[in-house]
Amino acid sequence: MLYLNELTLSHFRSHKFSRLHLDGRPVAIYGANGSGKTNILEAVSLFSPGRGMRRASASDMTRRPEALGWKITGTLTRGHRSYAIDIKSENGAARRVDLDEKPIAQTALAALSQVIWLVPNMDRLWTEGAENRRRFLDRMALSFDASHAEASLAYEKAMRERNRLLKDQVRDPHWYRALERQMAQSGCQIHAARLHTLAQITAAQNNADTAFPAADLALDQGQGDMPDTIDDFITALADSRGQDLAAGRTLIGPHRSDMLGRYAAKDIDAKDCSTGEQKALLVSMILANARALAHQTQTPPMILLDEVSAHLDAGRRADLYDEICALGAQAWLTGTGPELFHELGSRAQYISVSDQGGISEITQHEAAAQ
């Protein structure tokens, strides 16, 4: 099992000093709006590679007005082993991670802890632009394979270089071919990882006994198909150069992919579903991601569910809590009041958060205070 059994936030956003003692059960956090609940979840999200669930910079996470920098300390238990992890930023500098008092690359966290999340701004995922759906899919892909981040960075870098050539109307074919080869190598890797992820999520949805609706998922390229092989992709990029020069940017590739979702049981597009149904589809995918990871690594990930109960009725909430407990995952849930977690009973630990003159105060409870 993977869980944090101690978490300390020091000068992190609204928390001046908050310490939690945990035992691996789900953690239900409640309090008024703006009290600092989500900040705790954001701190947990930093135990995985990347910029965390708010995609904020290290300097944005510091407590103001002091702006001294911040530190998150956690004791992470994975199986029978325990790891001391410090994540900190001093004077607005980039984030540093220490494992058992030795510095490590932030990306090395991928081997230790997987953290997946669902936050309220994803509620519009099915109706807004494709970029956020790609990002959602890429986070799932990253949870299965840490090298996905490297491929994405390599592709992005080569594509930005190529786009500059296109914008400047450079005609040197050798330069294009050099960049297109790099784009093709990383691009095919990205595409394969995304397809693999969708297959994993689909299998995990289909094989589970779940109360949440399954989503039929597919990758869509907009115009034409994504080339199957590196050589085909190189050819496609070369063929598209004329059009790309006219557009001033690259028109084919995995950066144009979109993740399509359909509510399988009703056979309607996710974007046409009700708000509650759209949320249920997302919950279903997050749970499937967790199940697939548990299957792959024998360890369920930590799951962050920010204000997840907002669009779920009491029955659906109870189903969600049952499924989280069945997974054995340390889920971190937030809500405005303790009544939202009533169905969890003694299966969770409870934390109330309140704002005391601009400082978040936390109190741990054995049961949800009524």
């Binding site: 840490a146 090298s147 490297e150 390599a154 870098k157 080569a158 930005r160 270089e161 190529r162 500059r164 050539l165 400047d168 450079v170 040197d172 050798h174 330069w175 071919r177 050099a178 960049l179 080869r181 790099q182």
Partner: protein, 197 residues
């Protein structure tokens, strides 16, 4: 504060050197002044001499004190094999190993459209000239394994296709390296480039 304008100016200049900060620059300057007979004066003389004579080799881009550097003029270096590096520091690293006996070509950077660095800024046209004039049969691309380095390598390889043999340095386990300390990418490259024993 050293309280003296000349000393302060020297400290400020030294602090601009790579690897030195204000504190280490102060220590270095203090040391030079204490040993001005043995160190400061000869250093100043040598620096003045180099300032007058140092220049880039017109042929390969190496740094020397003549228009054409020693490596290009040495008769015991093999013609026909050209090792392409990004920077003079890379050339020096290759020379430290004392294994390569051919000639060099220093590009002076890597291609980067975003930074406005194109082939003409990189001595690539000169490389193409040299391949013909020096009758080169093999070009060894010893470029860094970064995205820009590899883009530049592909660019040159593409230009030279069907003209000369183009090779690149192998990527994999360093001598004396332990697998446990290697990143996934290096292990993958090493496995792909495995050899029969």
């Amino acid at each position: 504060m050293a309280q003296n304008r000349d000393i302060e100016d020297l400290i400020d200049l030294m602090a601009k050197l790579p690897g030195l900060g204000p504190r280490s620059a102060r220590r270095a300057v203090l040391h030079l002044i204490r040993k001005r007979g043995q160190l400061l004066a000869p250093l100043a003389t040598q620096m003045q001499r180099l300032s007058d004579t140092a220049r880039e080799c017109l042929n390969c881009g190496n740094i020397g004190t003549d228009d054409v550097c020693d490596l290009c003029t040495k008769p015991d270096r093999e013609n026909g094999t050209l090792c392409v590096v990004e920077d003079v520091a890379d050339l020096w690293a290759m020379e430290r190993a004392s294994v390569f006996k051919g000639r060099y070509h220093v590009l002076g950077g890597t291609l980067s459209a975003l930074d406005g660095v194109g082939p003409d800024d990189l001595r690539i046209p000169k490389l193409l000239d040299r391949i013909i004039t020096e009758n080169v049969s093999e070009v060894i691309l010893a470029l860094n394994a970064t995205i820009d380095g590899q883009t530049t390598a592909h660019y040159i390889a593409d230009q030279l296709e069907h003209r000369v043999t183009v090779t690149s340095l192998a990527q994999g386990v360093p001598i004396g390296g332990e697998l446990d300390y290697l990143d996934d990418g290096t292990i993958t490259a090493a496995l792909n480039a495995r050899r029969k024993l």
